[in-house]
């Protein structure tokens, strides 16, 4: 798989775990599920979360969604608004 540069946004506890609200990673992940697996390895603290979703272009993304370099990708830990 080709490795690519992906820009990630991270919020809440995920932002604290990644250390920044915007992070650039090098990844060979083609789909959302691959990216999730990679992130759980790279940032083991994410495994401690009740759940985390990935949003692509401001919408919750299923595991099999393909990721491109221009997508806006975001890590969504359990929400707690209100």
């Amino acid at each position: 798989m080709t490795e690519r540069k992906l820009k990630l946004k991270a919020f809440g506890i995920a932002r604290e775990i990644l250390g920044s609200r915007e992070v650039e990673i090098i990844s060979s992940a083609q789909r959302v599920g691959d990216l999730r697996d990679g992130l759980l390895k790279a940032y083991p603290k994410l495994q401690g979360l009740k759940s985390f979703m990935i949003a692509v272009n401001q919408a919750y993304a299923a595991e099999d969604i393909l990721i491109t370099e221009t997508d806006e990708i975001a890590l969504i830990p359990p929400v707690s608004g209100g």
């Binding site: 979360l49 009740k50 401001q58 929400v79 707690s80 608004g81």
Partner: protein
């Protein structure tokens, strides 16, 4: 009106925006910061939002509610930043012809906001801090 704002929310303005001359009923939910959540003394809460997605998600929730309960008006305002006990974190207001619809729609909207919308709060209490709902070990019943 859907608003994510760092400034204090003007509740009356949210209500006015949701009101409609054809409506007989307005229901308003106001979520405020409690001083004593989960038996800890809360000093403040830090709210953050993935703003563009939060607005998009709230819009979808509103559209579903507006269709289901034939709403005549609606408005949602959610605060971000540092909030002290007593401050207003979220206001949902809807208007409908009759009261039952207004209650059901307003409850549906706030329930869905709390379940789906990318907004997070960290509780800062005496002796520590905690991202609400983030970790499975925490048994929390957030209002």
């Amino acid at each position: 009106m859907i608003k994510i704002t760092a400034k204090p929310i003007d509740v009356q303005k949210v209500i006015d925006t949701a009101s409609s001359l054809g409506a007989g009923a307005v229901n308003v939910f106001i979520g405020t910061v409690r001083d004593n959540a989960h038996r800890k003394n809360v000093r403040w809460l830090e709210y953050e939002a993935y703003e563009s997605m939060a607005v998009a998600e709230i819009r979808m929730i509103i559209e579903e509610a507006a269709h289901r309960w034939k709403l005549m008006g609606w408005a949602v305002s959610h605060r971000v930043g540092t909030l002290r006990p007593g401050e207003v974190a979220v206001v949902v207001a809807v208007s409908a012809a009759h009261r039952k619809e207004s209650f059901e729609a307003c409850e549906f909207i706030i329930d869905a906001i709390k379940a789906k919308v990318p907004i997070w709060k960290k509780e800062v209490f005496e002796g520590g801090e905690e991202w609400i709902s983030a970790n499975p070990s925490m048994v929390i019943n957030v209002n």
